[in-house]
């Protein structure tokens, strides 16, 4: 069998995942060459992973929102507002020395994010306002609220315990633990791939290529994280906590999507709402849940971001929605609803963030970066359309 034949027999969804993986590798290598080795420097790579993790985490939620044939334009603002709520409570309101302070404010932040999501989901699913309108309003409302409650100030610093979520000095696993966690993750992943191969869901070429890519990526990333040494030591940082959070959240949500009725319902609602309703899918509740999850993920993103910056600022998460939506779409989520993949969205987030970081490294201006990412978005969907038409 020639390469061409192998490619032709692949399931389109699998083909996309492999294409995304391949693009990621190409982007990395090209930027490494262009930047004279800077891209693959442990420090840059570590920061890239941390930043991509936040985008990817939100993308997981966005993919589900888009599958239900909705959109969420407010994610950046929700992240900003929940981050600010946590910052003000932890730094201004509650005693700075109390041990219970950061766990409590963290919990309040997560609850606030979920409540915001529920509110928007309620407006979309039960009141029937289009999500574009609800979340466009949300984008304005929550950003405005952030300014109102902070009076435009920046709050800093957070409690030491809180800083484990942002990566860096406090938020990294260390060398040994990283190898162990990475190993376990890899075993789980390869196991899942093997199960799919056996049940006939994945073809042999996909399993081999996917397995190879995943193994190489995991090992390379851990090697890089461990090569990034703490100041004045030769102890490596290891896996940053945001990446760990992303992995846990994505695995958990992925399980729901594949193994719980509600996961199937999400797709059913997006593909044919009337049909779903007639077979007894609780269509409104499904949409409500998806928006609630999106809100929760925004709050987790807020925790990671504030913890990393060690500050709550008013512009936290500004314009983030654009990268998140772009990542979801590049990852294969269809704005017509009913189609999209979590893994694809995560890879899409890494692709976008890598392009952005890489261009910064080689000194591309921010305006030019925007233009290029815009074209990448169109290009990705264009290729997708061609693939759809051919099948």
């Amino acid at each position: 069998m020639s390469w061409h034949d192998v490619l032709r027999t692949l399931d389109p969804r699998h083909k996309r995942l492999l294409a995304l993986g391949a693009s990621l590798v190409v982007i990395w290598v090209v930027f490494d060459l262009l930047s004279g080795g800077l891209f693959f420097s442990p420090r840059n790579f570590y920061n890239l992973a941390v930043q991509s993790s936040t985008v990817a985490l939100l993308t997981v939620g966005m993919v589900l929102v888009i599958i239900t044939r909705n959109i969420d334009l407010s994610v950046g603002s929700v992240l900003g507002l929940t981050g600010m709520v946590i910052a003000i409570l932890q730094i201004e309101v509650f005693p700075a020395a109390a041990g219970w302070n950061w766990p409590l404010t963290l919990a309040i932040g997560l609850i606030a994010g979920t409540l915001i999501g529920l509110w928007q989901g309620f407006l979309v699913a039960y009141v029937g306002i289009p999500s574009f309108v609800v979340t466009l309003a949300g984008l304005l409302i929550f950003r405005g609220l952030t300014f109102e409650i902070s009076q435009g100030q920046t709050f800093s610093p957070f409690q030491a315990g809180y800083r484990i979520f942002g990566g860096g000095q406090q938020g990294s696993l260390g060398e040994a633990a990283s190898w162990i966690v990475g190993g376990v993750a890899l075993v789980v992943l390869l196991g899942a791939l093997a199960r799919r191969l056996r049940s006939g869901e994945a073809s042999l070429p996909f399993t081999l290529l996917g397995g190879l890519f995943a193994s190489a990526l995991t090992l390379f990333m851990i090697y890089q994280f461990n090569a990034y040494d703490r100041p004045r030591t030769d102890l490596g940082y290891g896996i940053p906590s945001p990446l760990l959070l992303l992995t846990l959240a994505a695995t958990w949500i992925g399980l729901f999507v594949n193994r719980a009725p509600v996961g199937r319902h999400v797709y059913a609602v997006g593909q044919n709402l009337e049909a779903a309703r007639l077979v007894g899918v609780p269509v409104r509740r499904v949409v409500l849940k998806v928006f609630a999850l999106m809100g929760l993920l925004c709050a987790v993103g807020a925790v990671i971001t504030t913890s990393r910056l060690n500050a709550g600022t008013t512009n936290l998460g500004t314009l983030l929605e654009l990268n998140v939506i772009a990542a979801a779409v590049i990852g294969g989520a269809s704005l017509d609803g009913g189609r999209g993949s979590i893994l694809g969205g995560i890879l899409g987030a890494f692709v976008i963030q890598s392009l952005d970081t890489g261009m910064v490294l080689i000194g591309v201006s921010s305006s030019l970066r925007q233009i290029l990412i815009g074209f990448v978005l169109i290009g990705a969907v264009w290729v997708d359309r061609i693939a759809v038409r051919r099948s």
Binding site: S199, G200, E201, L255, N258, R259, A260, P261, R264, Y267, A268, Q271, N272, E274, A275, A276, R277, L278, V279, G280, V281, P282, G338, R339
Partner: protein, 509 residues
């Protein structure tokens, strides 16, 4: 088996030779021939998935054949697109409707030809509405052509689709199951139109699973089985049994279609409907008993579907329902399902199936929650369930992962029925359950429905095919313009009587 080849006309108008069509995982056509004489009416028959629609899509420029050639009036042609086929006078009304649901009837009728235009590109709306009304009138549809298509029921939409084809002034008209949602009256009207066209010299290729129609309007029959041509025979030399034997390759008994049994055990009242009314219904009252199959017979637009949908809360309105003597007011199909009342739609494309999802996901959708434990279902259990359904209903598919839209129409229908019957039921409302299903599978569905009834489940059976209602149901309710105008017991019902009563109500007699 030697194919009994009928006399083939000396110079056919349209000729297909050695057509092969391969899709990933299946060869839908394995080298078939077909010829169509000028002015002839030709039937194309075969079981679900035999390849009829695939050939039609090749003749109408939707698919390019993998191998083989087409000749039109002796000249070899290549059809790169549907518009090219139309330009050559080949007009096709496909099995799956392709109407723009948000546009008006008139706009849909002229979707293919382009709207009547004045110089400068402005649409002459008045002219368009008049012309549309004229074409629709020939088919017996008297709706205002300004109405939106999405407000029409399945049968009315089918007529609009046919009108759209007629507006194109065909030389060859291909009809893929045009009557699957029509009742006797519209079928008569359609056949009158077809007969007129044929006398004008138009050739007709006609697909239907209702064999009696084949004998009424066609001169020759071509039968496909598994992507191969079994034979082409003059219709006059055939009877239903022979046709069925050619289609299936085995003896099929068509005598005992009726699954009705005098000793069927009919229990107490399960559901009682009182004075249901809304825009389409007025004062509809009836009851359904455990173990009983009740048929709703009526003409197009009489309100049968609306009655069915009211029972599961997919439609709102006045009146009251009770289930087992307890008031029952489902606000959504989901609430109805919780009480074991399910509805299976007449329109698999628009509110039935998830076309872009796999056979497996479609089959399991209604029961996922039942097979889930602590909120999780096991994929292997789901697969077994789907495998079981595919086997039981004889769904022709190259795999459980095939997207439903790539199944043949009849097989899609089977998936939908299988899904409905997999639920935990007390009452099932089946709206046109055999739409597009071949004769063998119809028989199986009748049997299954009877088995359900024998298990004490109540069945409301809605169908536009009166003979089927008579064969299957224990009791028949006649529906006319949103009212129930009569009840017939199985013992007193036969097809002619039901039809006569319906026509009388409609003032057609």
């Amino acid at each position: 088996m030697v194919a009994p080849l009928g006399p083939s006309p000396a110079d056919p108008l349209l000729e297909a030779r050695g057509i092969v069509k391969a899709f990933p995982g299946v060869r839908a056509l394995k080298g078939v021939d077909l010829d169509l004489a000028a002015g002839e009416s030709h039937a194309l028959l075969g079981e679900n998935g035999a390849g009829k629609s695939t050939l039609i899509k090749i003749l109408s420029g939707v698919y390019a054949p993998t191998e083989g050639s087409l000749r039109l009036a002796g000249e070899e042609i290549r059809l790169a697109s549907p518009s090219e086929a139309m330009a050559r006078g080949i007009v096709t009304i496909h099995q799956e409707l392709s109407l723009a649901r948000h546009l008006s009837i008139a706009e849909n009728v002229f979707l293919g030809v382009g709207k009547p235009q004045r110089r400068g590109g402005w649409i002459r709306w008045k002219e368009m509405y008049e012309q549309a009304a004229a074409i629709l009138g020939r088919l017996g549809l008297s709706h205002d052509p300004r109405r939106r298509v999405r407000d029409l029921n399945a049968g009315e939409q089918q007529l609009v689709e046919i009108a759209k084809g007629l507006a194109l002034r065909p030389r060859i008209l291909i009809l893929d199951e045009p009557t699957s949602a029509l009742t006797a009256v519209e079928i008569d009207q359609l056949f009158a139109v077809i007969e007129g066209l044929r006398r004008e010299g138009i050739s007709l290729l006609y697909v239907s699973h209702r064999l009696e129609e084949i004998f009424r309007i066609t001169q020759r029959v071509t039968v496909f089985r598994d992507g191969e041509r079994v034979g082409t025979v003059p219709t006059a030399e055939l009877d239903e049994g022979e046709v069925a034997r050619m289609m299936t390759g085995r003896e099929v008994s068509l005598v005992d279609r009726a699954t009705f049994r005098a000793d069927a055990h009919i229990g107490g009242v399960l559901l009682e409907a009182q004075e249901l009314s809304d825009e389409k219904l007025s004062g509809v009252s009836f009851d359904l008993r455990r173990g009983e199959i009740v048929g709703l017979a009526g003409l197009m637009g009489s309100g049968r579907t609306e009655i069915g949908r009211r029972l599961v809360g997919a439609r709102r309105g006045g009146g009251s329902l009770s289930l087992n003597g307890v008031p029952f007011h489902p606000r959504s199909p989901r609430e109805a399902l919780r009480e074991g009342v399910a509805y299976s739609t007449e329109d698999r494309k628009n509110d039935g199936l998830l076309l872009q999802q796999s056979v497996r996901h479609n089959l399991s959708l209604s029961v996922l929650r039942e097979i889930a434990r602590h909120g999780w279902f096991s994929p292997s259990e789901e697969r077994q369930l789907a495998e079981g359904a595919v086997e039981k209903y004889n769904v022709a598919t190259s795999g459980l992962r095939k997207q439903v839209r790539f199944l043949s129409g009849g097989n899609q229908q089977k998936v939908m029925i299988a899904r409905a019957l997999a639920c935990n039921l007390r009452l099932i409302i089946l709206d046109e359950p055999t739409k597009g299903v071949d004769i063998g599978a119809k028989q199986e569905i009748y049997q299954l429905v009877r088995t359900l009834a024998d298990d004490g489940i109540a069945v409301l059976f809605i169908s536009s095919e009166i003979s089927e209602v008579v064969d299957v149901c224990d009791r028949i309710l006649l529906v006319h313009e949103g009212r129930i105008t009569g009840t017939m017991d199985r013992a007193e019902a036969d097809k002619e009587k039901v039809l006569a009563d319906l026509l009388e109500e409609g003032g057609h007699a």
